[in-house]
Symmetry: C2
Subunit: 211 residues, 2 copies
């Protein structure tokens, strides 16, 4: 099955600007995309990048600089179904969870993200369209219900963990050895464990400051 | 199978004190426990509460006021295996994900929590013991490896979402209609959607202030 991966390669991951400068955000976003593509390559599915500006990646590419929602709905209106849409900022993604995402037979499968977003979708019915925003999971469920389409939830921590904000980085360092985790480690990020509470965050080595 | 549910009923959820007073934290922790017990009751498994002070709950109860690690290891040393240990602060827990937790055949199954904790365990080998702390998932994996015990990861957003801090409350309001979500709604909590970013948090109605 084809897996569409929307990727804003013009101005990615602006909410990480408190800890990463513009070049670093682009490198890190690129590393997360590489993790997603690596996981897909170990399955029988085919990645298709939906980017905002041309890229020299070797995968099949569509360029569309409109909003995420408009670009995905345009793609859906012309592509063969079923199709999956997987976010590019899921560095904990594995081949196993991608296979699980496809294991449901309902017209719609959704893997919700933390915070209520929609991190992965499998669409088997042409009456469905997307509307991406912060808490889109609920709205996608309601949109499916209003079209009498059954929805399965793919219950996955790995697909739920999209990396948008500095606090999300700890999950990458904790649970991955992939490209994004390697990029973070190479650039001075490591786990910081509060002695009293045992809580985990990430800190950056002063010699690897973004300034 | 028996499912041990450790529950600190003396001073629960202190990290929620910025938004809930002591009585409220006890009520809310109790509601989360009720959600976990409700999910278990729809399976064939049997809950067993491990509490810090006596309780009038009708389930099988063991009282042990030592640390979580000491109390669980004492329980493990005397109980029949296999056994599961499930945290009480998982209000998104469903019968389906509890069944999935038991579907792995390895000696150890772990459902990691966000932030690196261990939210659920299935133990089928007596050489394993627990050591709970903030980032215990890694250490439990290493402990299993040093005893030549294979580990399965139960990849679940619902089991990963333990509610410790104010920011965790949004997941409950977003994704549940259970006792904990009802308690939050009844006590004035609702979703707050930032117009610009679309980000979701929870806010509390001023008429339901904790003061």
């Amino acid at each position: 099955m084809e897996i569409l991966i929307p990727f804003d390669n013009r101005e990615p991951k602006t909410r990480l600007s408190p800890v990463l400068n513009r070049d670093e955000r682009q490198q890190f976003a690129d590393a997360m995309l590489s993790d997603v593509l690596s996981a897909i390559k170990e399955t029988n599915h085919t990645p298709h990048l939906l980017v905002t500006t041309p890229t020299d990646r070797s995968e099949k590419v569509t360029v569309d600089d409109r909003s995420l929602t408009a670009a995905v709905n345009k793609f859906l209106s012309t592509t063969k179904l079923p199709v999956a849409i997987l976010m590019s900022d899921l560095p904990l993604c594995t081949p196993a969870v991608i296979e699980r995402l496809f294991s449901y037979e309902t017209p719609i499968t959704i893997a919700p993200g933390l915070g209520g977003g929609t991190n992965a979708l499998v669409i088997r019915d042409r009456s469905f369209s997307v509307d991406y925003h912060g808490y889109s999971y609920r709205d996608h469920c309601q949109h499916a219900a209003s079209n009498s389409l059954a929805v399965s939830e793919c219950d996955s921590r790995r697909l739920a963990t999209d990396v948008d904000e500095p606090t999300d980085l700890r999950e990458v360092v904790l649970h991955s050895d992939g490209a994004a985790a390697t990029w973070l480690r190479t650039n001075g990020f490591s786990l910081n464990i509060e002695q009293k509470s045992g809580r985990v965050s990430v800190k950056r080595d002063e010699n690897n400051n973004r300034e």
